[in-house]
């Protein structure tokens, strides 16, 4: 009977097929975020199980121990102090690197001589694991905030310069030509075409700088500091206080994830045309 109906009315069969496909698509769309959560929670559970079976807090802290350590550190105010110190180091270094990096990138993209003079240094230093000279920076600038700021600048500035220059250079020549046909001068071409067109590249450079900057802060503090999240991790490692060490790592991970997410949000707000 049903078979006969379908034969008589093929559009009903097609509609049913389409509806089935839509249901499948909807299910898949809902399933992927669930899968991601399962992965995260499963990973944490596994970590807890392995930690408990190892049984020694000298080598591995479980998530629950880490959480308790975090709460303790927060209550005592110690954690806030370390975050405050590291946060300042990161913020100043990152901001200086971004401003200087964008300016240098713009100069390199605008003047051939600028590119010739600075280009080899920028690409050379970008490829160098510059973090290796952090001990030297500590030696030069002391164990205060400035040595960390310098380390952060030295690791953040290169992706910013390179992305800014590449972004300006990638400007569609046809767009420049179109604006030129209205009699635009060099400055108008720059502000109305090159700069907005480079914005997605520049923002991507700033986003890449976040992870590198956090590494800079931690490594700088490992080589010499009086406070900071990296300093706290070093202290914890030296006294085999694993829960405290892991607490520090968790703080860094949270900072990296939230700052990168903020950067993504900024990107989709500032460059909505680039979403495709």
């Amino acid at each position: 009977m049903i078979q006969a109906d379908k034969a008589l009315n093929p559009s009903a069969a097609i509609a049913e097929k389409l509806a089935a496909k839509q249901r499948r698509d909807k299910l898949e769309r809902a399933a992927f975020p669930i899968l991601a959560w399962v992965s995260v929670i499963g990973g944490i559970l596994l970590w807890e199980l392995v930690g408990r079976s190892v049984g020694s807090a000298l080598f591995l802290a479980t998530p629950s121990q880490t959480w308790l350590a975090l709460v303790d550190l927060w209550r005592s105010g110690e954690l806030q102090h370390h975050i405050w110190v590291s946060g300042q180091e990161f913020l100043y270094g990152y901001l200086i690197a971004c401003v200087a990096g964008i300016v240098i990138g713009l100069i390199m993209a605008s003047y051939r001589s600028g590119s010739a003079l600075l280009g080899p240094w920028v690409s050379g230093l970008y490829a160098t694991p510059i973090i290796a000279v952090a001990p030297l920076v500590i030696l030069w600038f002391g164990i205060g905030i400035w040595s960390k700021i310098v380390v952060v600048i030295s690791v953040v500035i290169f992706p910013v310069i390179i992305n800014t220059e590449a972004g300006i250079r990638a400007t569609d020549r046809h767009l420049i030509e179109a604006i030129r046909s209205f009699g635009a001068n060099q400055f108008q071409i720059f502000t109305k075409v090159s700069l907005p067109s480079a914005l997605p590249f520049i923002l991507a450079g700033l986003r890449l700088g976040i992870g590198r900057g956090l590494i800079g802060v931690v490594v700088g503090e490992l080589f010499g500091a009086r406070a900071g999240v990296g300093f706290m991790i070093l202290q914890a490692a030296e006294s085999f206080a694993m829960p405290k060490l892991f607490a520090g790592v968790i703080v860094l991970a949270a900072a990296g994830i939230s700052l990168t997410a903020a950067c993504h949000a900024l990107e989709s707000k500032l460059v909505p045309w680039n979403r495709r």
Partner: protein, 283 residues
């Protein structure tokens, strides 16, 4: 070519809106244009056709001031022009809209550059968007529009500065065949509303015949004016005109004028892509 020159001087005794005199342009290894002369009268629609590599785009770019001629000069209303300016509006082959600007903002960019963006010019631009059939799309972004709609914005942007002469560089060549036909009728409708002086480059003979008052046929190696064909088909022209015997006769006649050049350019492109190289030199 001499007959063409004579014809053009006798036909347009009145001072022309746009004059092209003795324009010569050479690239590294080829003469792109040699002694090109052309007068375009006020309100006239002139189409320039020719095989690839005849320098038709180069000629238009020189008129626009985007490129400099080695010899000769360009004048609008008898006043020599060398650089881009608001007396000429350029419609590009690719749409070239700024992706971060909305339709209305893109259409206003020429006015903005010349410090003429204000409430009145905005109202005027809005009326132009309506004229080109984009009413209601003012706040869309280019990527939300079809190719044909983007070219409408491109046209509105060029018209917004209210130029004396509209320069169009194969504006419909990137569109599919059906959209192109529609855009051609739209072009005539829009042109009829203001009767701007138009210099329109195309490689499609039927497009040229359909749109133009006169078709300028360029030859290649070197690029030069080969012939000027007045199109005596009454306006307004509907698409049905394209199937009339007189229309077909015009297309055939012009095809015969350039057929040899086209074949030559095709056989040369085989060994080394000439138009590409010319393009590189241009940019």
């Amino acid at each position: 070519m001499e007959s063409a020159l004579k014809e053009q001087t006798t036909q347009h005794a009145a001072p022309a809106k746009l004059t092209i005199r003795g324009v010569h342009k050479q690239f590294v290894d080829l003469v792109a244009l040699n002694d090109v002369n052309l007068d375009v009268a006020e309100g006239e629609f002139v189409c320039v056709v020719g095989p690839s590599g005849c320098g038709k785009t180069t000629l238009l770019r020189i008129v626009a001031g985007l490129e400099e001629a080695d010899l000769g000069n360009i004048a609008i209303d008898g006043k020599q022009v060398k650089r881009p300016g608001v007396d000429r509006g350029f419609v590009f082959q690719s749409d070239c809209l700024l992706p971060w600007r909305t339709v209305i903002s893109n259409a206003l960019v020429g006015l903005e550059i010349n410090g003429r963006r204000n409430a009145a010019s905005r109202v005027y631009t809005q009326s132009l968007l309506k004229l080109v059939g984009l009413e209601g799309f003012e706040n869309y972004y280019p990527w939300q529009l079809s190719g044909g709609m983007r070219q409408r914005v491109n046209l509105a942007r060029a018209l917004a500065i209210n130029p004396d002469v509209l320069l169009m560089d194969e504006p419909f060549s990137a569109l599919d065949a059906q959209t192109r036909e529609i855009m051609q009728t739209e072009m005539l409708r829009i042109w009829n509303a203001g009767r701007k002086t138009v210099m329109f480059i195309t490689h499609q003979i039927d497009e040229a015949v359909y749109l133009a008052d006169r078709v300028v046929v360029l030859g290649r190696r070197p690029g030069r004016v080969k012939e000027i064909v007045p199109i005596e088909i009454s306006r307004p022209r509907s698409l049905a005109v394209k199937r009339t015997p007189s229309f077909i006769a015009y297309v055939d006649a012009i095809w015969k004028m350039i057929e040899h050049d086209v074949r030559e350019s095709i056989s040369e492109e085989g060994d080394h892509p000439k138009p590409k190289r010319q393009r590189d030199a241009v940019e």
